[in-house]
């Protein structure tokens, strides 16, 4: 009597475990499309799911052929990181002088985001396979070392006492007890490591000239990811509290600082504007103003979130937090999207002599 009921529940659970995430994904895509329609967001800021899909199908063979080297780099870097990472972890756990000598250096080396080495590696090893495998390895191997050594250390002391009481060698204890004991942790490390390997391999792809916005956000994301994955609980809390504010401030500053060299919107605008207009004063002016506005807006978003965090420590009321952390940044961003759309039109209409400059959108 109970068995058919049980199996029905099991199959239902299987369906649910598939149906719920699928529904959530569909909802998210629908929401994405809807937001673009409602706010009329430009494709250079956020392409619609439909556009992404058509790009995917339209350039399928190109994307597929370009994925092969990336996957190669990721897998190679990850494989090297796995072998080297686990070997170092074994050495750390079994040989105390090695631990004392190497572990602090290892942790210290992680304070520098490895993405920062990317340009150096490109100079040393060129745009070929090597530089990308190395950066994928550099990023992926640390979480593997940390998790594998933590796992091998987590063997209960009584278990180790038992093992030592049998006169077993260190290697036998490693093989029969420490290593199998650490497998769950080792796989956690590998899981994080493979994600990092992808970040590493993609970060060094020779997209030249690199887009300021992409490069900045990639570096920020990597720093936050490394902090979040490898930091202590305290670091985690710190990241959770300040990440949103910090990202706004840093992006804003980078955008403002680079306006004299290259306004970030100009990089996108060039994609959709014939080269003949790139040096026109109107084109330059539009992008300088837009970049300035975006830089100030992002600084404003960051500052608003800083205030939100600061207030949050002093009051339990949710309203200021919601207002400063969500509503004001949201409004700023919506205004900026509208402004980016209308401003170029206004400028080009005012000076009909240079009407063909349709920057930055199509």
């Amino acid at each position: 009597m109970t068995e058919p009921k049980l199996t029905r529940t099991a199959s239902r659970q299987r369906i649910e475990s598939f149906a719920y995430p699928a529904a959530a994904l569909l909802l998210a895509i629908a929401g994405w499309e809807l937001v673009i329609l409602i706010f009329n967001i430009q494709a250079y800021l956020l392409p619609s799911p439909a556009a992404v899909y058509s790009a995917l199908t339209g350039q399928w063979s190109y994307l597929a052929s370009e994925s092969v080297p990336t996957i190669e780099e990721v897998l190679l870097g990850f494989a090297v990181a796995t072998v080297v990472g686990i070997s170092i972890a074994v050495a750390i756990v079994t040989w105390r002088p090695f631990e004392k000598a190497v572990y602090p250096l290892l942790v210290a080396s992680q304070e520098v985001p490895q993405i920062a080495f990317a340009p150096l590696l490109l100079v040393w090893f060129g745009f070929g396979l090597t530089s990308k495998v190395i950066i994928a390895f550099l990023i992926a191997f640390f979480p593997i070392v940390v998790n594998a050594s933590a796992g091998m250390r987590s063997v209960p002391s009584e278990m180790l006492d038992l093992a030592h009481s049998t006169q077993a060698s260190g290697f036998t204890i490693l093989r029969k007890i420490r290593f199998p004991f650490a497998l769950p942790n080792i796989f956690t490390g590998l899981k994080i490591g493979v994600t990092f390997a992808v970040i590493g391999a993609v970060a060094v792809r020779p997209v030249w000239p690199p887009k300021i916005l992409n490069a900045t956000s990639l570096v920020l994301f990597t720093v936050l990811a490394v902090l979040g994955f490898t930091g202590s609980a305290g670091t985690d809390r710190w990241v959770a509290t300040w990440a949103a504010a910090g990202v706004g401030l840093v992006m804003g500053l980078v955008i403002l600082a680079l306006i004299p060299l290259m306004p970030f919107t100009e990089q996108f605008a060039r994609l959709s504007t014939p080269q003949a207009y790139w040096s026109s004063p109107t084109f330059k002016q539009i992008n300088r103003v837009l970049s300035l506005a975006w830089g100030v807006a992002l600084l404003g978003v960051g500052a608003s979130r800083v205030v939100a965090v600061a207030i949050n420590g002093h009051t339990t009321r949710r309203l200021p937090d919601l207002l400063l952390g969500l509503a004001i940044p949201g409004l700023i961003l919506i205004y900026m999207i509208k402004f980016s759309k209308s401003y170029p039109d206004r400028v080009t209409h005012q000076s009909p002599a240079e009407a063909p400059t349709e920057a930055p959108a199509k």
């Binding site: 209960p156 009584e158 278990m159 006492d161 038992l162 093992a163 009481s165 077993a168 029969k176």
Partner: protein, 287 residues
């Protein structure tokens, strides 16, 4: 150390004890253990002199932190004493031993191994021929009531069953000395009683020398030929009591006057040393 009747000499010979040339399987000679800590040296054991006669079941009972577990670690060669020496037979202990088996409070089984393979871990770690011990491992599991569970994983079994596997693992290579560190400490009261009876049956059959650490007074009396009472700071032997109850002992004996007189002798040691206080002493103002 006043008011002790300490002594390593074997007294009343229990049934089945070997009358060999060297009567003691284990001897502690003036053993002391001092730890270096950040706040200066801490004396964990002081002046332990004790003999464990071959084939005897000897319990060490005492409060937490009296160093009774350290004594086992010294015997197993997993720690070194800072004063005196520990002898196994006639040889001073200087490292892990070939001829002992250890059972801890936690069963320390490996979850990815079956019951049988957990028992055989001892054989593998000691680099003994595994094939030769397979049958013995099965027999041991049967003898502790685990027939049919040879291929179960530890997480499928109860605490008592897991501890039985750990005992089999300690016995698989047929050691002469069995070291047990509060082996039933993590079990519920009913299971403890059952384990006590089963361990006695196993001991009567195999006649190993057992050094058994516990903080349960009835458990120590029920199982032992001799109970060593220890007190703390520093850990030292206060009293050694030979238990003359006939074997096999049965659970109902634990409520009989003879058994209880042993309990009260041990209690008195703890009361005298302030380990146990009854209500009157705690509240002297009360009538």
């Amino acid at each position: 150390m006043p008011m002790t009747d300490q002594g390593g000499t074997p007294s009343a010979t229990p049934p089945g004890a070997d009358a060999g040339a060297s009567p003691d399987a284990v001897r502690f000679e003036g053993v002391g253990l001092t730890y270096a800590t950040a706040r200066g040296p801490v004396r964990a054991l002081a002046d332990i002199t004790l003999g464990v006669p071959r084939g005897h079941f000897v319990s060490i009972v005492g409060p937490s932190g009296c160093g009774k577990s350290s004594l086992l670690m010294l015997t197993a060669g997993l720690r070194s004493c800072t004063e005196g020496r520990v002898l196994i037979g006639a040889t001073p202990v200087s490292g892990p031993q070939a001829d002992n088996g250890i059972v801890f409070q936690n069963d320390t089984l490996l979850d990815w191994r079956s019951a049988l393979d957990n028992v055989l871990l001892q054989v593998e770690l000691r680099r003994l021929p595994k094939a030769r011990y397979r049958q013995r491992a099965t027999d041991l599991l049967h003898s502790v009531g685990l027939a049919g569970f040879e291929h179960s994983r530890p997480y499928e079994l109860s605490g008592g069953m897991r501890q039985r596997i750990a005992i089999c693992r300690a016995l698989i290579h047929d050691p002469h000395l069995l070291l047990m560190d509060e082996p039933f400490g993590a079990l519920d009261a009913l299971t403890r009683d059952q384990m006590m009876c089963d361990l006695q049956a196993l001991w009567l059959e195999q006649r190993k020398t057992v050094l058994f650490v516990t903080h349960s007074i009835p458990e120590a009396i029920f199982l032992s030929d001799r109970v060593v009472v220890m007190t703390s700071r520093p850990g030292q032997i206060d009293k050694i009591i030979d238990i003359a109850l006939p074997r096999p002992r049965e659970l109902h004996m634990t409520t009989e006057p003879e058994f209880n007189s042993y309990v009260s002798v041990i209690r008195q040691v703890f009361e005298r040393r302030g380990v146990l206080k009854d209500e009157r002493e705690q509240n002297p103002a009360r009538p």
